[in-house]
């Protein structure tokens, strides 16, 4: 929609309701919290004129579990089973960032092999999360079959996590001082074989998704992000990279073993796509293939050695006073942990920074007007929003 078109609607000022719903020109539509087009528990309050969205407000609060508050009342080690539960599709980033923050504040070191296993774990989590997202993105445009394929592949990945950690969804594998245990015998072979299967399904997905006339028509031009919006809205991850902004924390500020791996930043202009829902899908699928490559590189070059450095007695573990902020590149963008210790056996404050906080509220509210009702779900999924990051 052009700026001129937008002028026919009232200006939205200071949160007051400018749309006269009694006039019959506008209608309020609630999309969510229970809606197949909504990822997680969130709702969108749409004001529509015909089928065109003229105003969008994001509502959260359906999933507030008070993680940050809970963490202040538990010992450092007791928070480990808690942090992974902040994010269902990709819990491992929470485990890693919390563990890394605790290690930095306490001075605990991590064996080299554990760092490789952590990075491999994070890349497997990235691939698993993207598989779930890809099904959602295709499903938002009516292609449910792709979702069935990718969710099956995700299940195969979860089998690997289960064998490694005992848990399918919440792994609690990354712990202070390293990882909980070494890999089972023959596990690398099974990872390799599963990645080959995932790759072949990705070939099929690319064939049916990117050549589908409906997907090309509806996702093309939907939710365009200009590069100058990136800093203004705090956009990170594939949403920024599809707009041509070359930022990836794995390369810009390498953590774990990423500086030893061979890969480059996937960007929209590098792939020759626009910064719309279609282009973002292309970028994410390219990043899935990149993750598969990274996992293989790590399996090839994984050093031998111990995987865990024992911390002091964790039930009486006091962390020296201090504060730190650590961030990592997750599938949706920058994930971060701001941790403050007052020297006691419990954290003083933990703030969890999830990329959806900006993508699903300020950015989505900005991009919503101008789309139509049917494309709202596709737009939201193309930003890869995840509500529990907003209400920790």
């Amino acid at each position: 929609m052009t700026t001129k078109d937008r002028e026919k609607y009232p200006v939205h000022v200071g949160g007051t309701e400018p749309f006269d719903l009694e006039s019959g020109r506008y209608m309020k539509v609630w999309q969510g919290p229970q809606h197949p087009g909504i990822t997680g528990n969130m709702s969108l309050e749409l004001i529509t004129s015909g089928d065109e969205v003229v105003d969008l407000k994001t509502h959260v609060g359906y999933l507030h579990r008070g993680f940050e508050k809970l963490m202040e009342r538990r010992k450092w080690i007791q928070n480990f089973p808690l942090v992974c539960r902040i994010c269902v599709p990709e819990p491992d980033f929470n485990e890693y960032l919390y563990a890394a923050a605790v290690e930095e504040l306490s001075g605990l070191t991590v064996p080299e092999r554990a760092n490789w296993l952590r990075a491999m774990n994070l890349e497997m989590a990235r691939l698993t999360s993207y598989l779930m997202w890809l099904g959602g993105q295709a499903g938002a445009f009516g292609m449910g079959t792709i979702g069935q394929w990718t969710v099956t592949m995700r299940d195969f990945m979860l089998d690997l996590f289960e064998e490694l950690s005992g848990g399918r969804i919440y792994h609690m594998y990354i712990v202070p001082g390293g990882v909980r245990g070494d890999v089972p015998q023959g596990w690398f072979d099974r990872v390799w074989s599963t990645l080959t299967t995932v790759e072949s399904v990705l070939d099929d997905v690319e064939l049916v998704l990117f050549n589908n006339a409906v997907f090309k028509k509806r996702a093309g031009g939907l939710g365009v992000i200009d590069p100058d919006m990136v800093d203004r809205f705090g956009i990170t991850g594939p949403n920024a990279r599809a707009a041509g902004v070359r930022r990836d924390l794995r390369i810009d500020r390498p953590y774990l073993v990423y500086d030893e791996l061979d890969f480059s930043i996937v960007t929209g202009d590098g792939l020759g796509v626009e910064s719309d829902a279609y282009g973002r899908t292309k970028c994410r699928v390219a990043e899935m293939r990149q993750s598969i490559d990274l996992i293989r590189q790590m399996m090839d070059r994984m050093p031998e050695g111990p995987v865990h450095e024992a911390p002091p007695n964790v039930l009486h573990w006091k962390i020296p006073p201090g504060e730190t902020y650590l961030s990592a590149e997750c599938t949706r963008g920058e994930y971060g942990y701001y941790v403050v210790s007052d020297g006691s056996d419990k954290p003083r404050r933990i703030y969890v920074r999830g990329p959806s906080y900006t993508h699903a509220v300020a950015l989505l509210e900005h991009m919503g007007p101008g789309t139509n009702i049917a494309d709202t779900a596709g737009l939201m999924v193309s930003l890869h929003t995840y509500p529990p990051e907003i209400e920790r």
Partner: protein, 181 residues
């Protein structure tokens, strides 16, 4: 060229900052008075390329009667994070709204209003519920909010599960009359 000592000098001169404390090569913190935060952040954004706002959060310093706001900024070129901190009165928590600086600031301020009770006059939708619809208790992220008392007051008491000692269960129910158990 990003020189942290030059930046420190400028922040001291212009905004009376306390100095810069580096935690790592890529992470540092500074503190300014509340009235200088808006200008300092705009200066850092426009002159020092701290263009990305990572987050805004708050730490409740209940012992000092203060709330400490933390604005975390990132300079992508220099690969450096800078946390700008300021302390406000815990009993009269009012802070300048910076919703014009970055688009996402209004969301952070709405959350801080709800969770810590900090007012940001002029911030769009700051009085609307964010995550806690219909909340009428004290701001829950404050240190003196008693979660257990709230839970006992709000939710009806349930009897919970009854538990029994496994050895006793085996003796009395599972294998009654067995003398060797």
């Amino acid at each position: 060229m990003h020189d942290i000592r030059d930046l420190e000098k400028e922040l001291k001169r212009r905004y009376g900052a306390d100095g810069i404390q580096s935690n790592r090569d890529d992470l540092a913190f500074t503190a300014v008075k509340p009235h200088a935060v808006g200008d300092a952040l705009a200066y850092l954004r426009d002159h020092w390329r701290y263009v990305h706002l990572d987050f805004i959060t708050c730490v409740d310093l209940i012992e000092e009667g203060r709330l400490e706001l933390v604005y975390m900024l990132r300079n992508h070129d220099a690969k450096h994070d800078l946390g700008v901190k300021t302390r406000i009165d815990r009993n009269r928590p009012v802070m300048e709204s910076l919703h014009g600086h970055w688009a996402a600031v209004a969301t952070y301020q709405r959350e801080l209003r709800e969770m810590f009770g900090i007012d940001f006059p002029g911030c769009p939708r700051v009085d609307e519920d964010f995550a806690l619809e219909g909340w009428d208790e004290m701001p829950p992220m404050r240190r003196d909010f008693d979660t257990r008392a709230y839970s006992e007051r709000t939710y009806f008491p349930r009897p919970g599960r009854t538990t029994s000692d496994p050895a006793e269960h085996m003796r009395t129910k599972q294998y009654p009359g067995r003398a060797d158990l």
